[in-house]
Symmetry: C2
Subunit: 218 residues, 2 copies
């Protein structure tokens, strides 16, 4: 029971810090968007992501938790990911929003079946971008149409994003065994299941490759 | 009548684009904040500033206007200001938030008496940061206490912020005579009143200097 609740609070902390990071990255894309219409859309998406964070904070507080403490274990890996994958221009910022958004959605779909209903609702609710979900992809298509010769460079950047994401995810798995057992459906079984983690990462990488091919960045 | 309504729509456009810029700058400060608690506070402030923009958008739409068109005349000067005053670190980001927040509040207080009630409410409501208003100043005090030797460098940056703000404001005045007449209380009198503009800018510069002295950046 205490294990479940630890894992739940850790999941909330992970999703909260990921939401904060998503907010910052989306706002940064808004700041370099070439058109005011794009700024308005990305700004709305960023603000919405911050709202998710507020809800997670309230959920944690209601359970006697604290969002800052819950997020603490995830600051170094998430910041490390952002530090090593800083977008250099507008097109890269869009690729990053699309790639990370896709990875997060795939990850959530993978782990959702292993979660209790409350955790599942929190996770899926926090990554739901609603009607704005397709906007970064639409903007990326526009940027690629305007500058098709950028595709090779952007495809390389997308591969770097995946590599860095998986390497930071492994770091989290190693440091947070209780959370990891929960996410891989092995709660209470003890020990690291490297095979389950490896399988999950391989599936995420496969989805990522398919998504890039669809965007035209294979 | 058409002049008043033009001026009102221009004022809405100016405040809207300034809110969008404030959102972006505050989110950028959140992204480089050293502590997670600071990220949460600045993120909340940024999201709140985007909410103001949404309200301005709705007000414009209700009057048959369009926020993107209304903001258009202010994109170049506001972006120019941001381009020439890009903060290089956390302390500069805080100085920029404090200086710009102060200038905006002083500007609003100066022009509010010349506005009709609806415009005044929109302007003052859009810059009201509520309980978060004092946070950037508090963080700046903390940053200065931790690194007092930065004061000279930051004072120079603050002077650059003022100079760039006034130079872009003059650009707006020259390009938007109807709005300028409204803001200086000379609506319908025609012609540029360079003296009134000059007086206003001198008063803003005076308030700015007093504020910097108070922060310890004189």
């Amino acid at each position: 029971m205490s294990t479940t609740s630890d894992a739940q609070s850790q999941l909330l902390g992970l999703v909260a810090y990921a939401s904060l990071s998503a907010f910052e990255q989306t706002a940064a894309a808004s700041a370099i968007a070439p058109q005011v219409e794009q700024k308005l859309v990305l700004g709305r998406l960023a603000a919405q992501r911050f709202t998710h964070l507020g809800r997670l904070e309230a959920t944690l507080a209601a359970a006697g938790g604290d969002v800052t403490r819950a997020m603490a274990p995830f600051v170094t890996p998430v910041d490390g990911f952002n530090h090593h994958t800083r977008p250099e221009d507008w097109a890269q910022a869009l690729v990053k929003l699309c790639v990370v958004g896709g990875l997060v959605a795939d990850f959530a779909a993978e782990v959702a079946p292993h979660l209790d209903e409350a955790s599942r609702d929190i996770l899926l609710g926090s990554i739901d971008d609603g009607e704005l979900a397709a906007e970064p992809g639409r903007m990326l298509s526009g940027a690629l149409a305007a500058e098709p010769e950028a595709a090779g460079r952007l495809a390389m950047y997308a591969r770097r994003l995946l590599g860095e994401a998986l390497s930071q995810a492994q770091r989290v798995c190693a440091a947070q065994p209780v959370l990891t057992e929960q996410l891989t459906g092995r709660a209470g079984q003890g020990g690291e299941d490297l095979a389950a983690i490896g399988d999950l990462m391989a599936r995420l990488a496969g989805h990522h490759a398919a998504r890039l091919a669809e965007i035209g960045l294979a």
